[in-house]
């Protein structure tokens, strides 16, 4: 068994293989993971919108031992990751970290948020630091406006 604690280091090995095959291979995998995550999230997000997203990430915050602040208002959900356990483990690793490890997160979350007609702004800030800011808006124009403030804005399959 690869312990669930070490999944992200296994994930990192998968990403390195797929990156060598080409960008479309990585994107196909992110979409597969996104489809897998739909089982836990799609109905919740469709039914409860931002509140459902808050519930999901609040559960993740606890279960994945994240140092993360969540803020919900009528217009948006803001997720401020202060110390990301996933990238932290990949950096604390005897195997080489994939340089774009952070990209997978927008890679699976983006298509899911698109499906429930909300608008994701994913600022990774710096791929070498385990922190990011994710904002999910109801209103597309507000998301486009927020994108201007991002330091390192992530894209995903379907948003180039």
């Amino acid at each position: 068994m690869i312990p669930s604690d070490h999944f992200t280091r296994f994930y990192n090995e998968v990403f390195k293989f797929l990156e060598d095959q080409g960008e479309e291979h990585l994107e196909a995998y992110w979409l597969e993971i996104s489809k897998n995550q739909e089982k836990h999230t799609l109905e919740l997000f469709k039914e409860k919108g931002l509140k459902g997203m808050y519930e999901y990430w609040d559960h993740i915050r606890i279960e994945e031992n994240c140092d993360m602040d969540l803020k919900l208002d009528d217009e948006k959900l803001e997720l401020r990751m202060n110390v990301c356990p996933s990238l932290s483990k990949v950096l604390d690793n005897d195997a080489e970290p994939m340089k774009r490890y952070c990209d997978h997160c927008a890679g699976w979350i983006g298509p899911l948020i698109d499906k429930v007609d909300h608008h994701l702004v994913y600022d990774v800030i710096d791929r070498n630091k385990p922190q990011c800011v994710v904002k999910i808006f109801k209103d597309k124009e507000k998301a486009i406006e927020e994108e201007k403030n991002a330091k390192l804005l992530m894209k995903w399959p379907g948003k180039k």
């Binding site: 690869i2 999944f7 293989f17 995998y29």
Partner: protein, 154 residues
């Protein structure tokens, strides 16, 4: 179960909550990679996990310290609340997993577990032992059950 009181610290010594759903993502990944690239590619990735991610444990095995692997097994099977027995001595370690909670969690999540789900154990173990004086044999005893044995090569 013999307790392993080895004093050395594990390279990856996780604490806190356990996110069992990651095993579901492992199952999805195994199916995705095998369907798209074939089983040899999947096995090569597991081999990298054994050789590179677990380099520290492998280095210990090379030097004859197999108890670090026992410590690793105990730490993570305890964290995942698996039902297992372990017998430890200087020459041989036998880990018997009676109920693998990773396998059971995936079955609960998705219904059918990939027939290659246990390859993560078999192939990672093989890579850990490759080019060392030891071999690791993984026998599947049934659904969610296996025996993993590390001993000196004949």
């Amino acid at each position: 179960m013999n307790k392993n009181n080895l004093d050395q610290k594990l390279r990856y010594n996780d604490a806190g909550n356990v996110h069992m759903d990651f095993h579901g993502a492992t199952n999805t990944t195994i199916e995705f990679i095998i369907n798209k690239y074939g089983i040899d590619t999947m096995n090569d990735i597991f081999k990298k996990v054994g050789n590179d991610v677990y380099k520290d444990i492998k280095d210990h095995i090379k030097k004859g310290n197999i108890k670090m692997l026992a410590k690793h097994w105990q730490h993570f099977f305890d964290r995942e609340n698996a039902d297992y027995n372990i017998s430890i001595n200087d020459e041989e370690i036998i880990l018997t997993v009676n109920r693998c909670t990773a396998y059971e969690h995936v079955r609960k999540l998705v219904g059918n577990v990939s027939p290659n789900f246990c390859d993560q154990t078999i192939k990672t173990n093989e890579a850990l032992a490759e080019n060392t004086p030891y071999e690791i044999k993984t026998e599947i005893l049934g659904e969610a059950a296996c025996r993993q044995t590390i001993r000196k090569r004949v």
